[in-house]
């Protein structure tokens, strides 16, 4: 019973009756309480009888998420400490809370913290939208970046910056662009289905077209404007438009909640459509919801950082390799994406200092070989 009490406090579920948490390893306890259900192996069954609600918590998923969270926090601490002026980690933590040395507090609060938050948010959003799209297409290579949605969002966002007679804020324009690209890709692939590699190559074509449109606009404007828009075309956290980060934060919070609500459908959508609908998933409606969620998340993230490629591939890939195959690791992918982004931007800021490498180039240099490796490996499990 002691162990179980620990478990319930770990999960943060405030159960007054701790014996409601049962474990398959101690069936005699479960038998003592008629209202308890035996949990399958590898799960905890958490029941909240007061609200008439109970759910299964996977042990491994909990461990993976906790591990990734700790790694992310460590990376954030490192991010705040390193830079052109190195700070001691012991000085950083009070500075985040607004205490301690004035200069340090200014550096942390005004310079590094906003960028760190942007890195966490964009990384999480890219990876979350990546794992949604991968599950939808049943192909681990079908990330929004690869099928051209990033480029669509970028083209429209650049249009709002270089001012092609439109003066709408980048997030709205990015959303319009991402939607256009998604409609194009899915529409063009309609005949051959959304599975398999043809769909992805159609997406590469759409992406190439939007990339060309971006270049076209940059070629038309004055060199200064083009230089201002350049980080946008490779993906950088250096030019974050105001307001976009807040919008992304709200969108990300809602997106995570929505993704968790869709988690069961996602898990079942990994099978074929017939099986999924046989198991009670309204396939058509769910697919549309997942697609829309993925497109919106990508658009908001692109509006902040530009098209940072490969995070949407690497984040879910890390999460899947750590997690069991029982569920789609939504939270783990989100955390891993944020971790990848923070580390990549940290490397970009520090490796070649004082030159700053845009984070999109760092992720492309790391992610390119990774993508090739995935392609060359013989086909294994699907996402």
């Amino acid at each position: 019973m002691k162990i179980m009490a620990n478990h319930s406090s770990l999960t943060g579920v405030a159960t007054r009756r701790s014996h409601a948490v049962t474990n398959h390893a101690v069936p005699n306890h479960a038998a003592e309480h008629a209202d308890s259900v035996l949990a399958p192996e590898g799960y905890w069954h958490i029941a909240l009888p007061r609200w008439g609600y109970s759910f299964l918590l996977e042990k491994r998923a909990l461990a993976v998420n906790m591990g990734l969270l700790v790694a992310l926090l460590a990376a954030c601490l490192l991010y705040l400490s390193l830079g052109s002026v190195p700070l001691a980690p012991s000085a950083v933590i009070p500075a985040v809370l607004g205490k301690g040395d004035m200069m340090t507090a200014f550096m942390v609060q005004e310079l590094r913290l906003p960028r760190l938050i942007a890195a966490c948010f964009t990384g999480a959003a890219f990876a979350l939208s990546g794992i949604l799209m991968q599950t939808l297409a049943r192909n681990r290579l079908a990330t929004p970046g690869i099928i051209g949605i990033d480029n669509g969002a970028t083209a429209f966002a650049v249009a709002s910056i270089v001012g092609m007679g439109v003066s709408i804020a980048p997030p709205a324009m990015a959303l319009a662009g991402a939607t256009t690209a998604a409609v194009l890709t899915f529409g063009l692939a309609a005949g051959s289905g959304t599975q398999g590699y043809r769909f992805i190559v159609a997406g590469i074509g759409v992406g190439a077209m939007f990339g060309a449109v971006t270049q076209l606009m940059l070629a038309r404007v004055a060199i200064d404007t083009a230089n201002a828009a350049y980080p946008w075309t490779v993906g950088s956290l250096n030019a974050r438009p105001g307001g976009a980060v807040q919008l992304l934060g709200i969108g990300l919070a809602l997106g995570i909640i929505a993704a968790l609500a869709l988690a069961r459908s996602l898990t079942l959508l990994r099978f074929n459509d017939a099986t999924a609908s046989g198991l009670g998933v309204r396939v058509k409606a769910r697919r549309l919801q997942i697609l829309m969620l993925s497109v919106v998340l990508t658009a908001f993230a692109v509006a902040v950082a530009g098209p940072v490629g490969m995070v949407a591939l690497i984040g879910p890939e890390i999460a899947r390799s750590l997690s069991s195959a029982r569920q789609v690791p939504i939270l783990a992918a989100t955390l891993a994406g944020a971790l990848v982004m923070v580390l990549a931007d940290l490397a970009g800021r520090t490796l070649l200092a004082p030159i700053e490498i845009p984070v999109g180039i760092v992720t492309a240099v790391v992610g390119g070989p990774w993508l090739l490796w995935i392609l060359m490996r013989p086909q294994r499990s699907r996402p």
Binding site: Y197, R198, G205, V206, Q215, R220
Partner: protein, 322 residues
């Protein structure tokens, strides 16, 4: 064929007539009818003629290279730009510039070397289990590969400002401001490639029957492939050294050529000769006109026109097997 050649001549003349600046078609026509107009003379003979000639050569080189690459990988989507061969050439040039080279002649051999390495890399990926059997997966591998090389190139340019200034106008892919010297410098390697292609045409056609049939007919499939890879490297390297990486020409030209010529690789290669320049010059003329008075990089325009072709090929119920 005759129609294509006529169209090519017409497009070449249009390429001389149209362009940025004050010198419009009337003044050029006046010049050609022997009026003395020094400004128009300079523009037409010093700027537009080399540009048109370079466009013709680049078009032939990229079109033939695309057809060769598609024949040896038996993949209708194989394209030097998509598969990272052009990116390899561009990467090699950027590397050479960062390491301190600046001679124009060096640039060509370096670009050809980079194209060769890129070609071998992506084709050896195609030899891996499963990737080669699926034409579309090879394109994905190529896209990943060229994306990686592109990022490495921008990384080096970020690191070395001098190289960046030297290369920026070139890395987008354009025919503007190229001189006749560049063209003369690549001619020898193009000649070598042309001779090799002529000798290889029959063995390549035999290879289309399958590896066993080709060896049964007395050819050496491995040797044919290596020679063809060498030719692709020479052609793409030369084209990239002059005009920068231009995507999709190697996809569109053989695609159109096959529509005229049917499945025979020998006929396809012949048809690539007029169609390649036709595509490149048309795109170049449009690039001069569409955002006048400034110009569009040619690579942007070929991407805009080529991507729909890619999608059309992919959407076809059955990919045309080569």
């Amino acid at each position: 064929m005759l129609i294509l050649l006529t169209a090519l001549v017409a497009v070449s003349v249009v390429s001389l007539l149209i362009g940025a600046g004050e010198v419009g078609p009337q003044r050029v026509l006046g010049l050609l009818l022997s009026a003395s107009d020094s400004e128009a003379q300079f523009i037409v003979w010093e700027l537009r003629t080399p540009r048109t000639l370079i466009g013709i050569v680049v078009g032939i080189a990229l079109g033939v290279a695309g057809a060769l690459l598609q024949a040896i990988s038996r993949n209708p989507l194989a394209e030097p730009g998509l598969l990272g061969v052009s990116a390899g050439a561009a990467f090699a040039v950027a590397l050479a510039l960062v390491l301190g080279a600046s001679a124009a002649t060096l640039r060509i051999s370096v670009a050809q070397l980079g194209a060769l390495v890129g070609c071998i890399c992506v084709l050896s990926v195609a030899r891996f289990r499963g990737v080669g059997n699926d034409p579309v997966r090879l394109v994905l591998a190529g896209a990943a590969f060229s994306g990686l090389l592109g990022s490495l190139t921008s990384l080096m340019l970020l690191y070395d400002q001098r190289a960046a200034d030297e290369i920026r106008f070139w890395v987008v892919g354009s025919l503007a401001g190229r001189r006749l010297d560049d063209l003369v410098a690549v001619l020898p390697s193009l000649l070598v490639a042309a001779i090799a292609v002529v000798i290889m045409a029959r063995p390549l056609a035999a290879l289309a029957l399958g590896e066993r049939a080709a060896s049964g007919l007395g050819h050496h499939p491995t040797l044919i492939r290596w020679v063809a890879v060498g030719c692709v490297a020479l052609l793409v390297g030369a084209a990239t050294a002059i005009a920068g990486p231009i995507a999709f020409v190697g996809l569109v030209v053989p695609f159109v050529a096959r529509a005229f010529a049917g499945p025979d690789i020998r006929r396809t290669l012949w048809f690539c000769l007029p169609i390649g320049p036709l595509v490149v010059l048309t795109a170049d003329i449009i690039s001069r006109v569409v955002v006048a008075p400034s110009e569009l990089p040619l690579g942007v325009l070929t991407a805009l026109c080529g991507a729909p072709v890619l999608i059309a090929v992919v959407r076809a119920k059955r990919l045309p097997m080569l």
